[in-house]
């Protein structure tokens, strides 16, 4: 059969299908083809040559058989078989082992088992494979809901040839969904450009799909109007991709930075506001993460609910431990920062070993709930994962809440009073010891919240806190002690800086560069980015 004939067949098929779509009632009535007709269609597949098989595939694709998608799919996977010395066709549902469970290809009813001795699978070659795939794509292009059509249209890009392009043109004429239309137009434009049509390049301008770019690269070589135009379009695409990449890097940086901010913001209160060096801060983060894990064990099958409950629970657990540390150790070391540092470091070792003994030294994975999985594909070159987005939002919410507490509540007022002048605050009737305890509990609780967020990013283990303690202190010192805004800006800056450096020097070296950079920065401005104004007693 000539190509022309195939094209005609294609057209006929597409038109038929469109008619069926337009007349659902009729489609339903004409849905059923007789078993005899189905058998005839399948017998075409059992022809000796691959060319003949290809024609049979086209016939099936343009037929009204309800099972046609099943057949072609099975054929593609090598699971369509014919009975040896018999009339029946089967689809193998599981081809592991020697005896395969099979179903009848026409009635789709269970047909027992088959083996190499009783049935013959129908073989295909690569040319045929491409043809079957094309036919399957074309089928879903015209049938199914919008998302199926969109997926099929997307798959078409770069695969069009002389045979299939007219069919797509017809489909485009009848397509109404704008997104599907756009995909179809792009696919057609790419096909036309490849045929030498300069005007069609206009449609491809600024298109971000890698397949468009890859197809344009060979065209841009050499001279001529087409090559020159293609080069310009390609340059435009590259520029646009770069911008999207930058936005992506910025987002990664912000989400990495928000983790830093979450880890450091508790410290900004205990270290920054109270002046207490709490080396066990990392372990309070770890406890928050473990409480998220533990709640998930209590509520199996409901990771979403467990995670939401873990937010208050993690806060309370970490705050309780924090208050216990404050009451038992830190209170007695007031005004001796180096001793406080050592003692709280001891506490951190004890907490680590406690978790190792009670739970296990192994890392635990906390499952992500359904609504945090996957990512939001903004454009072809820009995707944002929901979990990172959630951490970013969570960080900002926690920051805002904390800032509001310090700014508007009675506790915040008392904390600021005690920080500025402890004796005067006490003279005014502020119970400084109680304020110390609550402030420390607040900072510790926020560390717990950071742990809950971290459990969605990394595995939970006894060493979780240690990985963040050095970074957290640097963020607080970098931002300027006693300044919540400074911590936010510093954390975000370090996160973005790290991500920007990574493609050039690699992840580890980027971290080293940032560390050294902050060390040097502190030499230059020991008070951090936002030094406290005036005299701090």
């Amino acid at each position: 059969m000539s190509r022309r004939a195939i094209r005609d067949l294609w057209r006929a098929g597409v038109v038929l299908v469109l008619v069926m779509l337009a007349l659902p009632g009729v489609v339903h009535a004409g849905d059923q083809i007789s078993d005899e007709q189905a058998r005839t269609l399948l017998e075409g597949l059992d022809a000796s040559g691959f060319e003949a098989k290809g024609e049979a595939v086209e016939r099936i694709a343009s037929s009204q058989a309800t099972q046609r998608e099943r057949w072609l799919q099975a054929l593609l996977e090598g699971r369509l078989a014919r009975e040896r010395r018999g009339e029946h066709f089967y689809i193998i549902t599981d081809d592991a082992g020697r005896e395969w469970p099979i179903i009848d290809a026409i009635t789709l009813e269970d047909a027992g088992t088959g083996s190499r001795r009783t049935i013959n699978t129908i073989t295909i070659n690569n040319t045929l494979r491409t043809r079957i795939e094309g036919a399957l794509a074309a089928m879903s292009l015209t049938a199914g809901d919008v998302s199926a059509r969109l997926a099929a249209a997307r798959a078409l890009l770069g695969t069009l040839d002389e045979a299939s392009a007219p069919g797509v043109e017809d489909t485009l004429a009848d397509e109404e969904d704008p997104a599907v239309r756009e995909q179809l137009e792009t696919a057609l434009a790419l096909y036309r450009v490849q045929q030498g049509d300069v005007a069609a390049l206009e449609t491809l301008r600024g298109h971000l799909d890698t397949r468009v770019r890859n197809a344009l690269v060979p065209l841009a070589e050499g001279d001529g109007e087409l090559a020159g135009e293609a080069r310009r379009v390609l340059a435009g695409i590259e520029r646009k991709r770069e911008w999207h990449q930058r936005v992506q890097t910025l987002f990664f940086g912000l989400s990495a930075g928000s983790i830093l901010v979450l880890a450091a913001i508790g410290l900004a209160i205990t270290f920054g506001v109270m002046g207490v060096i709490n080396m066990a801060h990392g372990e309070l983060i770890m406890l928050g993460a473990y409480s998220a894990w533990w709640l998930q064990q209590l509520l199996p099958g409901q990771p979403g609910l467990a995670l939401l409950l873990a937010i208050p629970f993690g806060f309370l657990v970490a705050a309780a431990f924090g208050i216990a540390i404050e009451r038992s150790v830190i209170r007695f070391l007031k005004g001796r920062p180096l001793e406080t540092l050592l003692a709280t470091f001891g506490v951190s070792l004890i907490l680590q070993q406690l978790v190792r003994t009670v739970f296990s030294p192994l890392n635990r994975a906390v499952a992500a709930p359904e609504w945090l999985r996957g990512s939001w594909q903004v454009t072809e070159a820009l995707s944002i994962s929901y979990s990172r987005l959630a951490v970013l939002i969570f960080c900002l919410v926690v920051f805002a809440a904390l800032w509001a507490v310090m700014r508007f509540t009675r506790l915040g007022l008392e904390v600021r009073a005690v920080t500025q002048n402890r004796d005067m605050a006490r003279a005014m009737g502020v119970r400084a010891a109680r304020v110390d305890m609550l402030t420390f509990g607040l900072g510790a609780g926020v560390a717990g919240l950071a742990g809950v967020a971290l459990s969605q990013i990394t595995n939970v283990g006894p060493n979780l806190g240690q990985n963040y303690i050095v970074d957290s202190f640097l963020v607080v010192v970098f931002g300027g002690v006693g300044n919540l805004w400074g911590t936010l800006v510093a954390g975000m800056t370090l996160g973005v800086l790290n991500q920007v450096l990574q493609p050039w020097v690699g992840a580890v070296l980027a971290k080293i560069v940032v560390l050294v950079g902050v060390i040097l920065f502190i030499q230059k401005r020991p008070q951090g980015l936002f030094p406290p104004r005036g005299r701090v007693s």
């Binding site: 920062p337 540092l341 050592l342 070792l349 003994t357 240690q466 640097l474």
Partner: protein, 360 residues
């Protein structure tokens, strides 16, 4: 009279320090160290079935403790007498260790480039001193010049050792990546695992401790030492009196770093491995607790602390590994809260009490 004083003021500090060297604690500590050396070597020479025989393994372990004692001295010198809490002294220790490790690695193996240079013993020894010394010089110069003090200094030293740990973990550094350097064969042409080498390394480590103790003692009792203590107790006042506080700090910090580097260099041939784990912030902070337990600002206290904690660690990590971190953590808390002067301070107060009651 006044003329004499003016003339002798230059040598006065030296004489005074020499005079202090002969005080009771120093003599006692030096004597104990010498006796330990003689005793261990002597007991090691006994036949191996003798009840008092000290095996090579124990000698090697004691040699390791000596390196820790040297490191503790280095930390005590700057923390005890200058009030600088360095949480990154493990970095200097590890740098010295890596210099030695690279020398050992170059023996009988094919290495190229700068690593081949370290195959020469004098150059390697120079590197042992220079690598930590230069790092301390640059880092200290930057930090002290801009008056980074107290906990800020502690935090950035911790960041420094953390950054170095990440850097040495990279395979591109060419120093073994995360596995580090190991499988050393010989030192100065002698096989490392021989009996004579074990004893020699032990004696060398002990002598290094003795020497470092004397040097520290000389520093702390000299005029420089007095300025150090003045800086520790009232930095601004010392500065206003006309002392260049940052120079004093820098000088002592570099000396301390070099001591730590030498400790690392002696440590590596005795344990047979050096890896980036030595840069871990935990190790550096552990050293501080040795000093805190022994008694800050008493040099013999640092020695006792290093010995006691490491002996405990050896025993406990084999007997009940789970308990070790509880004990170490507990030590941090108890020492800082109940024993601010450490074992040395406890001993001193006990002696004072006894003396006081005897007078009554």
């Amino acid at each position: 009279m006044s003329q004499v004083r003016t003339v002798s003021s230059g040598t006065g500090s030296v004489r005074r320090s020499m005079g202090h060297l002969s005080d009771r604690t120093t003599t006692f500590t030096c004597a104990v160290l010498m006796m330990a050396a003689v005793l261990v070597v002597g007991l090691n020479l006994l036949p191996s079935d003798h009840a008092l025989h000290v095996g090579d393994a124990t000698v090697s372990l004691l040699g390791k403790y000596c390196c820790y004692m040297l490191l503790a001295l280095a930390v005590d010198l700057i923390w005890g007498y200058l009030g600088i809490l360095s949480l990154g002294h493990g970095a200097f220790f590890a740098l010295g260790g890596y210099a030695m490790g690279l020398y050992l690695n170059a023996q009988g193996a094919n290495v190229d480039g700068w690593q081949a240079w370290l195959g020469h013993f004098p150059l390697a020894m120079l590197a042992v001193v220079l690598a930590p010394g230069l790092l301390a010089l640059v880092f200290g110069w930057l930090a002290f010049r801009s008056r980074v003090t107290g906990v800020y200094f502690s935090i950035i030293t911790q960041a420094m050792t953390f950054a170095l740990m990440l850097a040495f973990n990279r395979n591109e550094m060419g120093v073994g990546g995360s596995t580090g350097l190991t499988r050393f064969r010989e030192l100065l042409g002698m096989p490392l695992n021989s009996h004579a080498m074990t004893v020699a390394l032990f004696v060398a480590s002990l002598m290094a401790v003795l020497l470092a103790f004397v040097v520290c003692r000389m520093i702390t009792t000299s005029r420089l030492g007095r300025v150090c203590i003045a800086t520790r107790d009232a930095e601004a006042r010392t500065r206003f009196l006309g002392y260049r506080v940052e120079h004093v700090k820098l000088a002592v910090f570099v000396v301390s770093a070099v001591m730590a580097g030498i400790a690392g260099a002696l440590y590596v041939p005795q344990v047979g491995i050096i890896n980036p784990g030595s840069f871990a912030p935990l190790f550096s902070i552990e050293v501080v607790v040795w000093v805190a337990l022994g008694g800050r600002a008493t040099l013999f206290g640092a020695l006792i602390g290093a010995l006691v904690v490491n002996w405990l660690k050896t025993v406990l990590t084999t007997e009940m590994p789970d308990a070790w971190l509880f004990i170490l953590g507990g030590l941090f808390v108890v020492v800082t809260m109940a024993l601010p002067q450490g074992i040395a301070g406890l001993a001193a107060s006990l002696r004072r009490n006894r003396g006081g009651s005897a007078h009554e």
